[in-house]
């Protein structure tokens, strides 16, 4: 449809609106209709606390480019993103059908497991920044380094658990089309089915924006101090002077960073095959959670040593943490890769057969 197929999504949307809606027999009508709505809602609401551009000075005062600068900052994100699973669980349960039900049960188990890892992987950010406010975290990254460097292992854990939280491949067990016939949305048709997919992609964009904000400087333009500004409590701008073109430019940079992570999400989807269910659970409980807990302890000791050595929070402080993290990251990578998680399913079995036949 259209030049380069750009009109295809519109055609698909129209098609989905005019298709027949069905209600499976014995389904709970209310929950069946409510489930797509619930799965759509958190992805959009979370975006309200993400700062997306440099503050803009207008004749009516400074406008901070964030919809709601809440006092609880990113705790709001943790709270809301855990609610998306209700959509999946209720869709699975209300369909009154076996495969969707299994998908719903899987969704709830997976979400509970990975939410722990997700919450814990935000603790390093809290420790380093001493703050839950997202504009303040962006501000600190502007004046020091992007937090992906001093919190490299934390970023790894955050990324993996957010992949599981958004139910993207390799963690899309709730819909696993080869085993569960698309899982929780098997019985859905027309626009309600499309809304589940739209919610998944909305979640994906929100997750990308969060990664950009937490670990890649938010709307910060690297190697340029002309955009290093923040709104103080009394409404005045500290740092560089705001201008409309800086706001525009930072918004574009933020969109580019988000788009990059959307690309990574889709890239991983087409590269990595789906995990087996017990592997997903083992990765969450036996690898990610212990890893994050140990990392928090190591980071705490490192920060204590640094402040004991008289280094204040600043470029040197963050630089030392970055050096430590590169070492830790390599150690973690080699620990993971000792043919346990990264190697394919059943490989240990194959090797044990090889060993037996050699004897």
């Amino acid at each position: 449809m259209g030049p380069w197929g750009v009109l295809q999504p519109i055609a698909d949307g129209l098609k989905n609106f005019v298709k027949e809606e069905n209600l499976p027999g014995g389904a709970s009508r209310w929950l069946f209709y409510l489930a797509p709505v619930i799965s759509m809602f958190p992805a959009f609401v979370v975006f309200a606390v993400i700062p997306f551009a440099a503050p803009l000075a207008t004749p009516w005062g400074t406008v901070n480019m964030i919809v709601a600068d809440l006092p609880i900052g990113f705790l709001f994100i943790v709270a809301l993103s855990s609610l998306g699973v209700y959509g999946l669980v209720l869709a699975g349960w209300s369909s009154n059908s076996k495969y969707p039900f299994l998908g719903g049960v899987r969704a709830s188990a997976q979400m509970i497991s990975y939410e722990v890892a997700l919450g814990l992987s935000l603790v390093p950010i809290l420790m380093l920044s001493g703050n839950v406010s997202l504009p303040e975290i962006v501000r600190q990254q502007q004046t020091t380094l992007w937090y992906v460097l001093p919190l490299l292992v934390g970023f790894l854990c955050f990324a993996v658990s957010y992949f599981a939280e958004t139910n993207r491949l390799p963690f899309d067990l709730p819909e696993a089309e080869s085993e569960l016939v698309h899982g929780f949305h098997t019985e859905y048709s027309a626009m309600k089915f499309a809304i589940f997919l739209l919610a998944e992609y909305a979640n994906l964009i929100t997750a990308s924006a969060l990664m950009a904000t937490f670990f890649f400087g938010g709307w910060d333009i690297p190697f340029w101090s002309g955009d290093n500004m923040a709104v103080a409590a009394d409404g005045t701008v500290v740092g560089a002077t705001p201008a409309w073109w800086i706001t525009m430019l930072t918004a574009v940079v933020f969109a580019l960073k988000t788009a990059f992570f959307v690309f990574v999400f889709i890239w991983v989807r087409w590269t990595v095959p789906r995990f087996r269910y017990d592997q997903v659970m083992a990765l969450g409980w036996k690898v990610l959670i212990p890893l994050v807990v140990v990392y928090i302890a190591v980071l705490g000791v490192a920060m204590l040593v640094l402040s004991g050595a008289g280094i204040e929070f600043g470029l040197a402080y963050v630089g030392w943490l970055a050096a430590l993290n590169v070492v830790l990251f390599l150690a973690v990578f080699f620990w993971l890769d000792r043919s346990r998680v990264v190697t394919g399913a059943g490989w240990r079995q194959v090797r044990s057969y090889q060993l037996q036949s050699r004897r």
Partner: protein
């Protein structure tokens, strides 16, 4: 009536209505969902009281994690007999009603003994100075650290017990 009052009555009304519905629904899945709604509107009431951190925790812990676990258990254990009542026999009905009355009496007694809300706004300046999280975290980890640690050990014991029971069956 200003805006915050309207919002209060909205949240309070939803909380009361959904908790009544939670008790009266026959289907346990619906009951659990009404409980989610109740907890959500109570989180809204916490925000109105400037307890932002408590509201966030309410949604993270109760609505986001514990109730998902509830749903998981209800969905798995109630397969095939969704509408069976838990209370059977007249004796248990009377027992449950008595227990409910005792709880109500306790609640009334606690409410009567509750201290008056102080006239001066002590919460606002504290939040302004320390932020929503530190205002809760500082007393928790300094004045009440022993109680916090004991609670942690209690939870750990319960967790170890659950793991032991689960292991024995397997």
């Amino acid at each position: 009536m200003d805006l915050s009052q309207i919002v209060f009555y909205l949240f309070a009304g939803v909380a009361v209505a959904s908790s009544v519905l939670m008790v009266t629904r026959k289907n346990p899945v619906y009951a659990a969902l009404y409980l989610v709604l109740t907890l959500f509107s109570i989180a809204g009431l916490f925000v109105l009281l400037d307890a932002h951190f408590l509201a966030a925790l309410q949604v993270v812990v109760y609505a986001g994690a514990i109730l998902v676990l509830f749903l998981f258990v209800i969905m798995l254990l109630n397969l095939g007999h969704a509408f069976e009542p838990d209370i059977r026999g007249r004796f248990w009905w009377v027992f449950a009603a008595g227990l409910g009355l005792v709880l109500l009496a306790e609640l009334v007694a606690v409410m009567r003994g509750a201290p008056e809300r102080p006239e001066a706004d002590i919460v606002g300046p504290l939040l302004e100075a320390r932020g929503a999280v530190a205002a809760v975290a500082e007393p928790l980890f300094q004045s009440y650290v022993v109680a916090l640690e004991i609670t942690g050990i209690l939870l750990l014991v319960a967790m170890v017990g659950a793991v032991v029971i689960a292991k024995r069956k397997a």
